[in-house]
Structures are given as structure tokens and as C-alpha cells.
Subunit: 197 residues, 2 copies
């Protein structure tokens, strides 16, 4: 009945994610996207309406993929101790940087940037952040040391972890040789081993 699409939509979004992740929303030009996605203007606008809409789809995909992976790690029932799940998340993060991945976190970069003045984008970013925080909270609930904590305190600790997460990912992206990432896992571990005085 009609000419079929030559590209796979999900794959195109995946490629778009790579571009936006590398450069951010505002700094990614249409040619950048066209190159990265391997399609032409007409196709992009036909399939994704416009740049912002594409970015919203990318955020959605990033949430499912990257945020999903983090949440999966934080709620992984195979690791009974939630404390270890958290540590393994930061370890993975650190390993990625060591392996040369200095893209940081798409959400964190967006949060720090100017794209947040758009309410739709801001909403999507916020949703992702809440997801990560929920992951931390879930992991803390599965940690013997923290299970007994009052709800408010556990939430507060989850917030600290999220803040730490954001800070580290910004540092990762900045490529500053501050030596912070290298020992961040240890620091987080110590953070979780501490007890209220």
C-alpha cells in the first residue's frame, strides 16, 4: 500500500541518543543528528516531527535504557544486600569513565544546561531523576544496615546518593584530573558503612 520506511525507528532513536548524549540538546545541530542517524532532513521531520520532539523520544529511550539499567542494578534481587548494589552502581560508573566514556549522564547534563527552560523537557528530566532516586531508596530498603532507618532518614540518604551521583557524572564529563572518580567508590562505601553518631 505504501513505501515502507527504510530505517528502523528504534535504531534511529538509539543513534540520536548517542548524538544528544555526546553534545547535549542545544549544541546538537540538525546536521549532527542527520549524520549520526544516517538519514536526511525529510525523513527526520516526517518521522519525528521536529528536533525537540525527537529529544523527548530520546529522553524516553534513555530512561528505559540507561536509567533502567541503573535501576535494575539497584533492585537486583540476586544481590541480597542493597548496600552492595549501590556500590556496584558507582563502581560501574567509575569503570565506564576509566574505559574512556566521558559522556557523563544525559539527564545530568540536561539538568545543568539551558534546555530546562522548556517545561516538557524539564518534566522528562525530572522524571528520570526521580527514577534514580527511587532506585537508591529501594536498594537502601534492602540493606541490613539501613532497613531499620526511619523513612525520612532513608529518603534523605537516597537524596545524598542522588546528589553524589549527579556530581560524579558532571565531574566525569568535565574530564578534570581531580582524582575524585578514582576513589569515589571507596567514599560511597564508607558513606554507607557509617552510622549515625
Amino acid at each position: 500500500m505504501a513505501r515502507p520506511r527504510e530505517f528502523d525507528t528504534d535504531d534511529a532513536i538509539k543513534r540520536a541518543t548517542a548524538v544528544f548524549w555526546e553534545k547535549g540538546f542545544l549544541e546538537s545541530s540538525l546536521p549532527d543528528l542527520l549524520d549520526g542517524m544516517g538519514l536526511t532532513r525529510g525523513s527526520l521531520y516526517k518521522a519525528f516531527k521536529d528536533k525537540k520532539n525527537l529529544f523527548l523520544l530520546v529522553l524516553e529511550h534513555y530512561e528505559e535504557e540507561a536509567v533502567g539499567a541503573a535501576k535494575a542494578r539497584l533492585t537486583d534481587a540476586d544481590v541480597p544486600d542493597g548496600r552492595e548494589r549501590i556500590i556496584s552502581l558507582f563502581a560501574a560508573l567509575c569503570a565506564a569513565v576509566t574505559a574512556g566514556d566521558t559522556r557523563g549522564c544525559l539527564l545530568c547534563s540536561a539538568a545543568a544546561g539551558f534546555e530546562m527552560s522548556d517545561p516538557e523537557i524539564a518534566g522528562a528530566v525530572e522524571k528520570g531523576m526521580r527514577g534514580i532516586r527511587d532506585g537508591f531508596e529501594a536498594a537502601l530498603r534492602a540493606s541490613p544496615t539501613h532497613r531499620a532507618l526511619p523513612d525520612a532518614e532513608r529518603k534523605a540518604l537516597a537524596n545524598v546518593l542522588l546528589t553524589q551521583y549527579i556530581g560524579l557524572r558532571v565531574l566525569a564529563r568535565s574530564r578534570m584530573p581531580l582524582g575524585i572518580l578514582e576513589q569515589s567508590v571507596e567514599s560511597v562505601a564508607r558513606l554507607l558503612d557509617m552510622e549515625p553518631a
Copy 2:
């Protein structure tokens, strides 16, 4: 022997700082700067060479002013307990946000953005970050609870505080109603009250 400058250089840099702080380096256009600084193209190029050079001067000024204020608070001998100095820093930060200042931190935004691909800018940002970290470390040395810590552990804690600082300032800028800033002071206090298990 010559016509004197009609504007005060330091004042112009101060105004430029406001513009860059609000919008970031890449997002600040020359007209933005011209408006904000109250001078014209010719003057700007004559006095500051170009946009990037102006930004480097702004970073210098920001370091003296904003970072200097933070460091002053962290090394304030009038507050004998370094722990309290740290808490007061985060409290001030939080108060500023509550008062409606959502600009975050010029350094942190730069660190998260694309301007870091310029080595000179990256160097200046890094220097500022080191300054803040040194401030934290100095404060920890003046804290009864942490004075006795081994050097490496104190440095690690300073790194955690710097990371927390960056994360919070990014969150501040993002304007996401996550409720993190509101209780961040308490969290930091708890962080400092904890002891190694």
C-alpha cells in the same frame, strides 16, 4: 595623553560575570554581553580582546569573588569548629536558592557544559574546583571530629563534599522540585556527624 575609558574595567567584568553566570559561555551572545555590560562592540573588543578572553577574566573574577567567599567561610577562624563552617556554607547555598537564586554555580555549569573542550577554560575551571576542595579540606582540619583522621580519609571526605556541592548546585540550577535542597543542610550535617563504623 589620551582619552580615558568611560567605563570601569572591573565593573564591566562584574557585569559580564552576571551575564555568563545566567546563561553560560556558549549561550551568551555578544549582544547579551553588550546589553549587560552597557558598552558597545568596539569598546568590548578594544578592552577585552574577544569573548573567550573576557570569559577567562570573568572566571578569574568569579574565583576571587564567589569561590573566595566560599573559601573564606570554610577557613573563617571566628568559627572554631570547621564542621560548622561547612554546614554554614551549604546553608548559605540553600538560602540563596530559597531566595530565588537559581543560577547555580558558574564553575559547575561550565564543568557540565561543552566549553570544557577549550583547554584554557578547562584549566581555569579546574583551578576553581581545586580551590573549593582545598577549602573543605581546611575546614575538616579544623573540625575536632575529623582532625584526627588520616590524611587520605580527610581528602576523600573533602572530595565527597565537593561532589555533593556540585550536585546540589546543578540541582539548584535545574529548578526541579525534588525537595533535595530543602534538606541538604541536614544531610550534610549528618554526613559530618557520622563516624567510621
